[in-house]
């Protein structure tokens, strides 16, 4: 039966096909390309191509090349992996990596739960959400340089420094803040958290809206308290956004530059010298010319490390996250 029908269908199609006059296949020539709108396609894509070629793709390639050379900007010669060996055996790089990791850990401890907590609270209030959102986002709007310079003043180690005065109100003695090797990094993280929390809060707020309300209803039917609802419904539903925010934060903190540069210049005694600061010092600190090969070698290593981290991360979280 089916065969008969298929044949009929096929024959019909072929008949239909034969009935329609088809245009002769054209040769692809520059003229057809032009007529087909090829020029416009190119013109629209040309700005992007030029800009990316000059300011993105080419520098990336140059970076890799430079990392394999020694140059004084006038002449360069190939040195193979010498630059890589030199930086990998440099104790200052090890120190920079540890400092960066420390910053990342602190940022995760302070900067991850706090915005989440605030967002959960904010999502519950019936009125004033707009005001709270605006207030929370305000520090994000301040230009980072202004925020750092302002906090640098707040962190003055004098007894009359702003934060020390506040501590004085509750009887705590004056602290050295960024003048102390141990307190410097946490001070930086505190300011960075303050400046960035608002952005995370807004993102979490949006994600919280996406939690299906039926799940809360179901949990309530099972007699869940508020806390259990948060733990068993909200957080798992937010898993996706939380995972993404986490890896984004790690990648961002791996490249922190502004805070250490403006607050402490890498001090005291190298306690806040991060990887980016190390690269900057290598390339730009010496006015007679930097070690460009070594600087680019470190940046290539960092890029590889971050790529590996991201790949590992997504492999792991793919197994954990719900479908």
């Amino acid at each position: 039966m089916t065969t008969l029908r298929e044949n009929t269908v096929v024959r019909d199609e072929r008949a239909v096909d034969a009935a329609i006059p088809k245009p002769k296949p054209t040769r692809r020539t520059p003229l057809t390309w032009l007529r087909g709108g090829g020029l416009w396609n190119l013109l629209f894509l040309l700005p992007m191509i030029v800009v990316f070629a000059v300011f993105s793709w080419s520098p990336i390639v140059q970076s890799v090349i430079m990392s394999l050379q020694k140059t004084n900007l006038i002449t360069s010669h190939w040195v193979g992996l010498d630059n890589y060996i030199a930086v990998l055996t440099d104790p200052l790089l090890g120190e920079a990596v540890i400092n960066t990791l420390w910053f990342a850990v602190l940022a995760m401890i302070f900067g991850f739960p706090v915005p989440l907590f605030m967002a959960v609270l904010m999502s519950e209030v019936r009125r004033g959400k707009g005001l709270y959102s605006a207030l929370a986002y305000l520090p994000v709007v301040i230009p980072p340089v202004v925020a750092v310079l302002l906090w640098k003043f707040f962190y003055s180690a004098d007894d009359n420094g702003v934060f020390n005065t506040i501590l004085g109100f509750v009887g705590i003695p004056a602290q050295p803040w960024i003048q102390d090797a141990v307190q410097a990094m946490p001070s930086l993280v505190l300011e960075a958290t303050w400046a960035g929390a608002g952005g995370s809060i807004i993102i979490y707020l949006a994600a919280l809206l996406g939690v299906p309300p039926e799940l809360y209803d179901a949990a309530e039917v099972d007699g869940a308290s508020i806390w259990r609802k948060v733990w068993h419904v909200t957080l798992p539903q937010m898993r996706g956004i939380l995972f993404i925010m986490l890896i984004l934060q790690v990648i961002a903190t791996a490249q922190v530059f502004l805070e250490p540069f403006l607050f402490t210049g890498g001090g005291p005694a190298g306690a806040t010298r991060t990887i980016l600061l190390y690269i900057y010092d290598k390339a730009f600190r010496n006015s007679l010319g930097g070690a460009y090969g070594e600087a680019t070698a470190v940046s290539v290593l960092l890029a590889i490390a971050l790529a590996l981290l991201s790949w590992l991360y997504f492999r792991l979280t793919n197994r954990w996250s719900s479908s």
């Binding site: 900007l73 050295p176 010496n286 930097g290």
Partner: protein, 457 residues
């Protein structure tokens, strides 16, 4: 709609063109100017300098061009600092005439980035007049001279007369030994609550000042070997003493204040604001203190850095006027003429000195700040008498320095890998200032081996 596309393209093009034109420097590129004169791009001041400084320069430019009608001077902002210098140096976009500190001349020499000016120096007739120590810094291994040393300074002990008085100290008698410095510092901090003595610690200036303190205690941080290499000698008693001094002031006397990340600019700012009793820096920093940092001249005092130990010296520095190697033959003579007129003549010729002093004084620029002579001491003191009526800095408040500096041995900054070693020493200073239990001898050993590794590269 074709017109929309035109608008879009036109807009983009206009923006691009406007953007490029907006920052194109006016005037023709280097070489000859329109009217056949030789165009010379010369360094003036760092960006952001006082408007009055530029007025003075414009006046001097006019004077020069009147004397040399075939040369067109174009002033260019210039700063020996940061990434732009290195890149411009390599790219050849520095001014035709610019200044370089002593410490860098040897490196630039070796890289062939300076023009041989031996003939010009001989022609002007002052090859013999230069202080031989100073001239050595600009002489290459081939015996040729590559720049005109134009200015030198020695380290001095700057102090705040008002704080001295408030602490019950005599403002005309600055300390003359390191023990006195410590005692005075304690007295100032006890009586006024301000830092009695502070020191730079970051941005390579920590290393610079530490080196000065080491030299003042009779030791050196680096020695040059005959085969061209250098040996690091950081681990010595002078360094230990200098670091111990800082440690004691910071942790025992608590007279160091609460800022351990000062650099050249911020320590000047703190001093000018009356927050620091004493500190060491170049003797010529008075001009900047008054002009850029708001110091009131009455509170300023200058003495010599105390010396002790065998073979102590005072760290000095200075800069050299050089000609860029990219300048063509015709412009080379013009460049030498400009250098001679603008930088050198005021040191040797009374009329030139008086004109220069008058121009500066008229624009409110400092005249008479204590410097070290690049020629001879007699020449320098004579030149001071020429410009006496224009001197507007309180030299009587600086008499402790002026009278005693001649007894001190000037010592040049280390020549190899200077900035890298200074960066290392920065960390040393910061560690001592921020960790009470820092093990100084262990730190010194490590610093020396790290420095040697740098020098061996």
């Amino acid at each position: 709609m074709k017109s929309a596309r035109k608008v879009l393209l036109a807009g983009a093009t206009a923006f691009a063109v406007a953007g490029m034109l907006a920052s194109c420097s006016a005037g023709p590129a280097d070489g000859d100017s329109d009217d056949g004169r030789v165009q010379l791009r010369v360094a003036t001041f760092p960006p952001g300098a006082d408007a009055a400084a530029y007025e003075a320069f414009a006046e001097q430019e006019k004077q020069f061009e009147k004397l040399h009608k075939d040369i067109d001077i174009v002033g260019v902002e210039y700063e020996w600092k940061g990434p732009t210098f290195a890149v411009q140096l390599a790219g050849g976009s520095l001014p035709d005439v610019f200044t370089v500190p002593f410490t860098d001349t040897k490196t630039l020499l070796e890289n062939g980035q300076l023009t041989d000016v031996t003939d010009a120096v001989k022609k002007f007739g002052y090859a013999e007049k230069f202080n031989p120590v100073v001239l050595d810094g600009v002489t290459g291994d081939d015996g040729r001279i590559y720049g005109f040393p134009r200015q030198a300074y020695a380290m001095g002990l700057h102090y705040n007369r008002d704080l001295f008085e408030a602490a019950g100290l005599d403002p005309d008698k600055p300390p003359t030994t390191w023990d006195e410095v410590r005692a005075y510092a304690k007295q100032i901090s006890d009586k006024t609550g301000k830092a009695g003595y502070a020191q730079m610690a970051s941005g390579n200036t920590g290393g610079w000042q530490l080196t000065a303190a080491i030299v003042a205690r009779g030791e050196r941080t680096q020695t040059d070997e005959t085969d061209g290499s250098a040996k690091s000698t950081i681990d010595n008693e002078g360094t230990a003493a200098a670091l111990q001094f800082l440690h004691d002031l910071r942790w025992e006397d608590k007279s160091f204040g609460s800022k351990f990340d000062l650099d050249w600019g911020t320590i000047n700012q703190e001093f000018a604001a009356g927050n620091i009793g004493m500190y060491t820096s170049g003797s010529d920093v008075y001009s900047a203190l008054v002009r850029d940092f708001g110091l009131s001249p009455d509170s300023y005092g200058l003495g010599v850095v105390p010396v002790e130990g065998n073979d102590p010296g005072t760290l000095g520095g200075g800069d050299v006027a050089v000609i860029s190697p990219t300048v063509d033959e015709g412009a080379k003579d013009a460049a030498a003429t400009w250098i001679d007129w603008y930088y050198m003549q005021k040191l040797m010729d009374e009329d030139a000195a008086v004109t220069d002093a008058k121009t500066l004084a008229d624009s409110g620029q400092a005249v008479g700040t204590p410097v070290l002579p690049v020629l001879s001491r007699e020449q320098y003191e004579e030149s001071l008498t020429w410009i006496e009526s224009y001197i507007n800095v309180p030299r009587d408040q600086m008499s402790a320095f002026i009278d005693n500096i001649w007894e001190q041995t000037p010592v040049g900054e280390p020549k190899k890998k200077t900035q890298e070693v200074y960066a290392l020493l920065d960390t040393l200073v910061q560690t001592v200032l921020t960790q009470e239990d820092a093990d100084i001898s262990a730190l010194l050993k490590k610093a020396q081996s790290d420095a040697q590794a740098l020098l061996d590269q």
